[in-house]
Symmetry: C2
Subunit: 419 residues, 2 copies
Amino acid sequence: MSSEPDLHLARPDAHAPGMPLVTVIGDGQLARMMQQSGIELGLTVRLLAGSGAASAAQATADVWLGEYTDEDVVRAVSAGADAVTFDHEHVPNAFLEGLIADGVNVQPQPSALINAQDKLVMRKKMREIGAPVPPFAEILSVADAEGFWDATAGAVCLKARRGGYDGKGVWFPSSRSETAELVAELLDRDVPLMAEKKVTLVRELSAMVARTPSGEIASWPVVESVQADGICYLAVAPAPAATGGQAHAVAKAHTLARDVAEELGVTGVLAVELFETVDEAGEPEIIVNELAMRPHNTGHWTQDGCVTSQFEQHLRAVLDRPLGSTALTSTTTVMANVLGDADADPEQAMSARMDEVWRRFPTAKIHLYGKDWRPRRKIGHVNMSLPCGAAATDENVAALRRDAQLASDYLVTATWKDQ
Amino acid sequence: MSSEPDLHLARPDAHAPGMPLVTVIGDGQLARMMQQSGIELGLTVRLLAGSGAASAAQATADVWLGEYTDEDVVRAVSAGADAVTFDHEHVPNAFLEGLIADGVNVQPQPSALINAQDKLVMRKKMREIGAPVPPFAEILSVADAEGFWDATAGAVCLKARRGGYDGKGVWFPSSRSETAELVAELLDRDVPLMAEKKVTLVRELSAMVARTPSGEIASWPVVESVQADGICYLAVAPAPAATGGQAHAVAKAHTLARDVAEELGVTGVLAVELFETVDEAGEPEIIVNELAMRPHNTGHWTQDGCVTSQFEQHLRAVLDRPLGSTALTSTTTVMANVLGDADADPEQAMSARMDEVWRRFPTAKIHLYGKDWRPRRKIGHVNMSLPCGAAATDENVAALRRDAQLASDYLVTATWKDQ
Ligand SMILES: Nc1ncnc2c1ncn2[C@@H]1O[C@H](COP(=O)(O)OP(=O)(O)O)[C@@H](O)[C@H]1O
Ligand SMILES: Nc1ncnc2c1ncn2[C@@H]1O[C@H](COP(=O)(O)OP(=O)(O)O)[C@@H](O)[C@H]1O
Ligand SMILES: [Mg+2]
Ligand SMILES: [Mg+2]
């Protein structure tokens, strides 16, 4: 079946002549924030969006409407672009191979991208390049799962290989029989599965770099990603290190992200999500959890805490242009996600909530995505940085974390959690 | 004659439900950069643009096409907006009075705006509120001009009362007879004129504040605006003060901008362009030159050197929302304008020039406006800040000025001026 994108919102007039054109497939907040950087750089972001009301489509002049699951649509929106990139991992790799065969500049390439799409493929690759991963196995049958339960003495983390996000697609069954039932049910629904050892987390880290097709790499400081129920709600940049052992683990994470980018040939922004745990000797140790090959939630702090944001860097990287400085503009920046309240959106309007936050915290940088409330949906984030010249003491960082959390809680609930 | 805007680019779907809608009249780089901030804040900027290819229209989803000189068009695009604001001073005040009579929230209001539109009205107002201005006079005849020549012993600066920018509309006649001829010719062309005493400039300063309709004021540090041929090419923030006398003059400028905003009832961003000169005792003294009631070229540094940029602050101010912190994120930021070369655009493409600049200066923040080259046209700017923690020593600031200037010169000429 052949189909064409709907071009009624397309704006070829919106291209500054002679400047690069980047097609972004995906219409979420990541594409929206790439567009902010594109405006600054004078280049054009052409968007493939599902709707003109989508987060990124609200912010973009040149919007093509269509489905990224439709090969003809993907081909049409990619034609003539200096680079094609993504705000999610769900475009079928076969389409991307087809584009590349036609001479389109797709970044990152599917050969790298597969490691951000398939959790099992990624773990095999990590093992191959010597990056630390927990014991894992493919799960093709209930017997596989039972075997894994026995081998790990019940420390089982079961994962859908593909398509999970925000903890959807991750399970921690509490008994051998629960594992068997869950796996039977999932296999029945044709969910490809893997299992890995459930590790005892000290905390989660994220190490981010950008890499160009020519091989230039720039890395940001490693970030602490504070999670609850499988969703990141706070990122602290740089990740505090309380002990020499922790500093060592953070430094290892920093190097590891560069190595992964090189070994996998990643282009654009790469986020390596990591677990910090303790080894048998009680020393901090890091383990790779997941890769993302696009701007990542744990990199939003770069918009207000760093010379070059991850969104600008991603555009520069996929166009194979020189990368920007990743120097900090503040000794610590905290990002707090604004996640839709579990029950209901408060009566007070969002803009009144913002005003309340600004009144209390004039340094709060509020970023909204133009999205409606839904329970636990990411609808924005707040960045707060230490003032110019202030040192990242434990006390200063703790106060900053508290304030950023209060601000985002207010945006979610219309109440001050400390009052 | 009744006319309607052309709505074929309008995008009502691009509004996040429940969030404010700001209509911006004008399609230049100031509106473009407001739009960047609008995206971040989740609000909608609806643009009245002359063309879909205009600087701001490239960056905006909801573009209405039409002329701001057409009252029906202005009325239509303003309907339903939470605030109506501008990226230039040229919308006829009669239209704005009409909008206000209809209940539209126009910010700033024409009663304030007139002081940014008419250089004579402004000077009279400054005298009234006790703000320092040079001796000046309305020029209605050649005899007026000759009289002014005699009274100032030939130190004459002649100005068109309205419509001037970048030094167009400012003359320094060198003799009594040249003054007479010039004035005769200009009056013949119906250019309303004023004259003021030509002062000996030590340097130019710019003091910027934002004010809300409720009266909240936030001010940025005073900036040194380095000019040549009537165009600002460099802004240094904060303005260095070499002596106690200069520090005193800068402090006076800072206070003055707040006073002007209050006395005139300015809303949104106000830039007070000032001359620093020396009084009879040889002490630094400041004199008001011009007012702008919108984001201003000498405030572009705030995008990369300050917690809250002038573009975000303007949107917050015209919506009567709490203002953001104006704390610095670096001890000094230098902004260098990218002005089209006088002769021709270099052969090297602009994006290749950017790459060259980034290779040499990874901290250079390049902002482009999506505008074609024209001689002396403002097509972008470069911001460079001292690294986090670096002190604003003379040496550091001099190096920063040199680097920002080299970067912008390269973007203009495709050559390194120091090589
Ligand atoms: N092996 C594991 N051991 C312990 N906790 C885990 C493990 N794997 C995942 N988790 C927890 O679940 C969260 C979501 O898992 P992840 O694989 O990152 O899924 P998603 O794709 O939804 O982000 C992680 O951030 C972590 O908190
Ligand atoms: N009275 C004056 N004495 C000396 N120089 C002046 C005087 N007025 C203007 N200038 C110079 O001319 C420039 C442009 O004048 P200005 O009134 O600001 O016009 P514009 O509206 O074009 O910005 C100023 O920035 C300054 O360099
Ligand atoms: Mg994850
Ligand atoms: Mg001026």
